[in-house]
């Protein structure tokens, strides 16, 4: 244990970033002793950077979840307090914040909705000593101890949607376009698998740099030349908007269908109603999902967050399940002991906006929805029940 702490106190002296009492107080953490009373939940949401578009929803939805939990007596009788941090910060900054939260603030659990680079930095900083719930959709493969993932995985997004589209639309040829980083490539790996399984053919695959001022005239012209039946889009944010608008601008929306795997209400608003014809999205949440649970969730959210509430969209709403997963985990484990939490995660049921999620292999078996864009809203055309996440974490 001494070995673990040495580098941390050195970092404390070098960076000067930690509170002056942190190094002195550090050994208290080692005992694992927990004061009864409040339960401290650290959150890493995108308060800055390109993802900060989603920050307000993440924060508002988490507040709703925590208020509901506290109104019902807290987690294991302890009231929850939230300590927010910036998940949009550079990974090294997020790691520093995680260490500070662990040593100085002695948080009991961390919930994060941010990109994978920040997740890896936080995982490395926490080293499994504080439980960590990761919530947005991601590429899969996160199996570090004491990390619990409620995110949609590529298997969940791709398998049912591609199979359904191949069958329903009769799509034979596919064109894949995405940003050049791990999530689009992992997602397309799955896509190619299920395209082949459905007897389809990939006629083109291309990636554009992430964070570059991309234009898509050339890509759209290539797609026009290849005439695929379906374009599989793993572009994110502004690129997703720009591509889809260019695609429709060149009139390709009239003859070619599209599915985008990171398309929620906010991005669709950017794409606009003139460019969303024949565009699909597949995720575990759409605001328009018609279940009773979602109606209740939305009503509670509107009541709590008021008339100017940030829009409900998948990235943001994911934190509701994350917070409730944290609650279910700690209550089932009877505390925050890592080994007990890991055991509790097997077949754990917790509340989500649309019902109940079931955790296995520290990922979640969940219902997935396929939605077709109608103007700037989503129309769910198919619900896939209890879709497997395809992860094998022990």
């Amino acid at each position: 244990m001494q070995k673990i702490y040495k580098p941390i106190s050195r970092r404390h002296f070098v960076a000067g970033a930690l509170g002056s009492g942190a190094a002195v107080a550090a050994p208290a953490i080692l005992t694992g002793a927990q004061a009864a009373g409040e339960l401290k939940m650290a959150t890493f949401y995108a308060l800055s950077g390109p993802g900060s578009l989603f920050g307000p929803t993440q924060t508002a939805v988490t507040k709703l979840a925590v208020d509901e939990i506290n109104a019902g007596g807290g987690i294991g009788g302890r009231k929850v307090t939230v300590i927010p941090s910036d998940g949009g910060a550079p990974p090294a900054e997020a790691a520093k914040a995680a260490i500070r939260l662990m040593l100085r603030d002695k948080v009991d659990i961390v919930v994060g909705s941010h990109d994978s680079a920040v997740r890896e930095a936080i995982v490395a900083a926490l080293k499994g000593r504080v439980p960590y719930v990761y919530t947005p959709l991601y590429e899969g493969g996160e199996c570090n101890p004491n990390v619990f993932v409620t995110a949609d995985t590529p298997q969940q997004q791709v398998q049912p949607s591609i199979t359904w589209l191949a069958k329903t639309l009769g799509a034979k040829s596919y064109y894949l376009i995405g940003n050049d980083y791990v999530w689009p490539r992992k997602t397309n790996e799955q896509a190619k698998k299920y395209i082949a399984a459905a007897g389809g053919k990939v006629v083109g695959e291309e990636y554009v740099p992430l964070g570059a001022p991309n234009k898509f005239e050339d890509a759209v012209t290539r797609i026009k030349a290849k005439k695929p039946d379906l374009v599989v889009i793993t572009l994110v944010g502004g690129d997703n908007i720009n591509f889809n608008r260019t695609f429709a601008g060149f009139g390709l929306d009239k003859s070619i269908k599209r599915i985008s795997y990171l398309l929620e209400e906010q991005t669709l608003a950017g794409i606009g109603d003139k460019s969303s014809n024949g565009l699909y999205s597949a995720m575990s949440y759409f605001e328009n999902e018609k279940s009773e649970a979602n109606a209740k969730f939305k009503a509670a959210y509107r009541k709590a967050a008021g008339a100017k509430a940030p829009p409900l969209a998948m990235i943001g709403v994911d934190t509701y399940g994350g917070v409730n997963c944290a609650k279910a985990l700690i209550e089932k484990a009877g505390g925050t002991d890592a080994a007990k939490l890991m055991a509790a995660a097997s077949n754990l049921n917790y509340r989500t906006p649309t019902g109940t999620g079931v955790m296995t292999n520290r990922h979640v078996v969940k219902d997935m929805y396929l939605a077709e864009c109608k103007g700037t809203s989503f129309d769910i055309v198919e619900t896939f029940k209890a879709v497997a996440h395809g992860q094998t974490c022990s």
């Binding site: 990636y207 554009v208 050339d218 012209t221 290539r222 030349a225 908007i241 601008g249 009139g251 608003a269």
Partner: protein, 284 residues
């Protein structure tokens, strides 16, 4: 002709011509004032937000042009007086000051409109048959307007009395004052003109890009590449720079992909800085 080839050619024309208009304002200001306005991209961004604002007011798209010009005249005058004029002949300080300004403008717009993507409806949604290739009308119109704007400005610069006086100031600022050219006012007007050109291109490009507070950064980088290649000396340099950068990027992107397009442009810019630092058409 093969419709795909036609489409690719039109893509290149579109990219080069719209790029030239964005860089034009930057180059005019640098040519006359020796001021590298790092906030140039933010004026493009403000122009785009003006188009969005006009849309939220249910006004026709073109109403954004006078709105953007008005906003940028007021803003440009203030910036010139407060920030640029006191720092003439201090290029490094000007870089810092305009960089600071760019952050201020981004934050300011973010405070009003937030970080979210805004979408401006494309005014013309149909397409036109060009030699068998369907090409979106608005992009064609935009390319035509951009070419007309650059050509008009070159003609004006060469033929008009004001154009001659600007060239005189660039060549010999001291003598220009002595023969009675109001150098201070001309510099001010040129700066404001550069800002207005940026805003105008922002309005025109708004329907074709996600409108968000950071969009100006995309333009400033590419504008620098154009100036590196074309040189800071003349409109000919500017146009050839836009042609090389915009053309190479879109041609390479059309035949390979965007990553190769960016890489090629970067290599060209580095080679120019290394082997021909004054660009194709150096300042005399």
């Amino acid at each position: 002709m093969d419709p795909i080839l036609t489409t690719n050619i039109l893509n290149v024309v579109y990219e080069v011509s719209t790029l030239a208009v964005v860089v034009l304002g930057l180059a005019v200001v640098f040519g006359l004032l020796g001021v590298m306005n790092l906030a140039h991209g933010e004026f493009v961004m403000i122009g785009a937000y003006c188009a969005f604002f006009v849309q939220t007011q249910n006004l026709p798209f073109l109403a954004a042009v006078p709105v953007a010009l008005l906003v940028c005249i007021v803003l440009g005058l203030a910036v010139e007086r407060i920030l640029v004029r006191p720092l003439y002949a201090r290029p490094f300080d000007t870089l810092l000051a305009t960089w600071g300004l760019s952050m201020l403008l981004r934050e300011g717009v973010e405070a009003v409109y937030g970080r979210g993507f805004k979408s401006v409806a494309v005014p013309l949604t149909d397409s036109i048959d060009v030699l068998g290739a369907d090409y979106p009308s608005y992009r064609l119109l935009l390319a035509a307007v951009s070419i007309a704007l650059v050509a008009g400005l070159v003609w004006w610069f060469v033929r008009s009395a004001t154009g001659r006086r600007i060239r005189a100031v660039v060549n010999n600022p001291e003598l220009a004052g002595s023969v009675g050219i109001p150098v201070t006012a001309l510099a001010r007007n040129t700066f404001v003109f550069g800002c207005c050109l940026a805003a105008l291109s922002g309005v025109l490009l708004a329907p074709l890009m996600p409108v968000q507070p950071m969009l100006g950064l995309d333009f400033i980088l590419k504008s620098f590449f154009v100036l590196v290649v074309g040189g800071l000396g003349s409109l000919v340099g500017l146009i050839s720079g836009s042609g090389v950068i915009g053309g190479v990027e879109s041609i390479v992107s059309a035949f390979f992909d965007r990553t190769y397009g960016y890489t090629t442009v970067l290599i060209i810019a580095i080679l120019f800085l290394w082997l021909r630092p004054n660009g194709l058409f150096p300042r005399t």
